[in-house]
């Protein structure tokens, strides 16, 4: 059983991930996540001083498009899967004014 991640950290990660955790999940996750994070630690065996990080395999960077108007989704297409809709708007619970 690893102590790398405790239940408080798990709850904190849940908040950052925007995933509500049940008590059962919160109690099981420290062991599950901890074992995996411990496995990640294996990379510390490797000397990577001076090695350039590789984010992806593509040779290109900063691929830019022409700044010209083109086709895009119609409001109806964009709203077709909306759980709640009000005309051309996505409807959500009140955002402003909450702590």
């Amino acid at each position: 059983m690893s102590n790398i991640i405790d239940i408080d950290q798990v709850r904190h990660i849940g908040v950052l991930s925007r995933i509500e955790l049940s008590d059962e999940e919160a109690s099981q996750l420290p062991a599950q996540l901890g074992a995996i994070v411990e496995y990640f630690g294996k990379l510390n065996e490797l000397d990577t001083d001076g090695v350039e990080p590789m984010a992806h395999a593509v040779g290109t960077h900063n691929v830019l498009a022409e700044d010209s108007p083109g086709e895009s989704l119609s409001p109806d297409d964009a709203l077709a899967n909306a759980p709640a809709r009000d005309g051309d708007f996505f409807m959500v619970p009140k955002v402003i004014g909450d702590s």
């Binding site: 599950q32 995996i36 294996k42 990379l43 090695v51 395999a57 964009a78 759980p83 709640a84």
Partner: protein, 502 residues
């Protein structure tokens, strides 16, 4: 003439083009197979029978008026359900997208359609492509056509099972850490992951954006060649797609490679490899040698596999891969928040954050939640350098190993998976055990290289064993030619499980 479903996709396309078979007849044959076999294999999330019939009728109409037909005209092809289609649903086998109808079609699927292919259905996968057995699907359990009590592999298990059981002439899968190659090995079919950037990712629901690629799952190398050509090409909608000309892989696939040099990575043949698989792969290498290829030993030090603690294999590449993939996934899956599409909680919520958190809690399965949380952790303040940045440096070292190896050989040959298809439920208790199913495939995604899994034989239980060929970037032609050389040499190709025999 053999039964329609026993033809390869290339042969079927030729039969339709010549008028020997109509597209409607071909589709009918496949729909009949689906009716008989699908209840037992469960490869499809959705069969698109009506739409497919219309598409087939259009091909027949075009043919009768003498219109030019595309290279896949009338060929029924299945598509993994993490590729957007403007018809049917795109669920990613997740509750959070259970009713999602995409407003556009993925470029790769669009290209298949433009070539005349008939899209027959959307196949099952591990939820959001996260898994190695398709058991993480929130929709259903897909079974291996060679043994219904075993998994088809994952995450493209539905596509692999579909092609293996002849419920489609070919299928598209996606591969982030082996998700085309490993199910191909488990199901006894060919599965190719192209070079990163060879095929557009536009419309492929993102899991690990620097790792994901769409690729074909087929009964043989020529079919894979044709499909890869059709789906490749630069796409202005995908800024990571390579601006390189499309190659005609089918035209070259039957031409053997003179003086082929095959590299065997020492690290992949260590004690950790199942002896039965090791024997089959080594025999395959010997057969290539007898046929004139030169076999050389190469080193991939950072892809080393050791027997670690608690019976788990230890591998830098696996650690590196999961840090990168989970980090990217945590970012990519942030969009599923119940606001614009997908599942929204019906419970009362106290503000917008609770809307996000509860919708996601209800909609995501346990493995997806684990990966998002791990990825959030590895990217979070205080841990970013130790994990994510460290992993990116190890990634560079892994890539460098491959570059060095390819100075001595044309292609690498190694196992596709440490085991053959395991039993349903056998590896679900411990996530880490499942991650280690990917040891031979993940380095290839990290390096952005092309890799193909082809059948190499069977184990004592009659389950297919896959062998993997890996090439330098954009060497799909060489890979497919080498694969074809082996198919002709060994006769191990176009395998048909008992369940699929007419």
């Amino acid at each position: 003439m053999p039964s329609i479903v026993e033809l390869t996709a290339v042969q079927l396309a030729e039969a339709i083009a010549s008028g020997e078979v109509s597209a409607s007849e071909a589709l009918e044959a496949y729909l009949e197979r689906i009716e008989t076999i699908e209840p037992r294999v469960c490869a499809f999330n959705e069969v698109l029978a009506d739409q497919a019939k219309t598409a087939a009728a259009n091909v027949d109409a075009a043919r009768s008026t003498g219109e030019a037909l595309g290279p896949l005209a009338g060929v029924p092809i299945a598509v993994k359900d993490n590729m957007c289609t403007a018809y049917g649903k795109t669920t990613c086998s997740s509750k959070i997208l259970a009713d999602f109808k995409a407003p556009y079609t993925a470029t790769a699927v669009d290209k298949l359609q433009a070539a005349g292919a008939v899209i027959i259905g959307k196949t099952n996968l591990d939820e959001f492509a996260m898994g190695s057995s398709t058991e993480n699907s929130a929709t259903k359990t897909t079974r291996n056509p060679w043994d219904l009590d075993r998994v088809p592999g994952g995450s493209s298990g539905g596509s692999g099972a579909c092609v293996s059981a002849r419920m489609a002439a070919a299928a598209l899968g996606s591969d982030t850490g082996g998700s085309i190659r490993q199910p191909a090995a488990f199901c006894g079919v060919v599965g190719l992951k192209p070079t990163y950037g060879r095929v557009s990712r536009y419309g492929l629901v993102a899991y690990g954006s620097s790792l994901d690629q769409i690729g074909p799952m087929t009964v043989d190398a020529p079919d894979a060649a044709l499909l890869t050509t059709v789906i490749s090409g630069h796409d202005p909608h995908d800024s990571t797609s390579a601006d390189r000309p499309i190659e005609d892989y089918l035209a070259e696939v039957e031409t053997p490679i003179e003086n082929l040099r095959i590299g065997l990575p020492d690290e992949f043949f260590a004690d950790a490899l199942d002896p039965e698989i090791a024997q089959i792969i080594t025999k395959a290498a010997d057969a290539c040698k007898d046929a004139g290829a030169k076999i050389v030993s190469v080193a991939l030090p950072h892809s080393r596999i050791d027997s670690g603690s608690e019976g788990n294999l230890s591998s830098y590449a696996v650690a590196c891969y999961y840090i990168v993939a989970m980090s990217e996934a945590s970012s990519n899956l942030a969009r599923y928040d119940g606001v614009h599409y997908g599942h929204r909680t019906e419970q009362d919520v106290d503000g917008i954050v609770e809307l996000f958190s509860r919708s996601r809690a209800e909609g995501f399965g346990p493995e997806v939640k684990r990966r998002i949380m791990l990825g959030t952790y590895t990217l979070s303040s205080g841990y970013y350098d130790a994990y994510y940045n460290k992993a990116l440096k190890v990634r560079r070292l892994i890539k460098n190993d491959f570059d060095r190896a390819f100075e001595q050989c044309d292609v690498l040959l190694c196992p596709a998976s440490p085991t053959t298809a395991f039993g349903i439920g056998e590896k679900t208790a411990d996530p880490l055990t499942m991650y280690l199913a990917d040891i031979y495939t993940i380095s290839v995604n990290l390096a952005g290289l092309p890799g193909v899994s082809i059948p190499a034989g069977f184990d004592a239980a009659g389950m297919p064993v896959g062998m993997q060929l890996i090439g330098p970037e954009f060497s799909e032609s060489k890979l497919l030619r080498a694969a074809r050389m082996y198919e002709k040499l060994s006769g191990v190709t176009h395998l048909i499980p008992k369940i699929a025999r007419a």
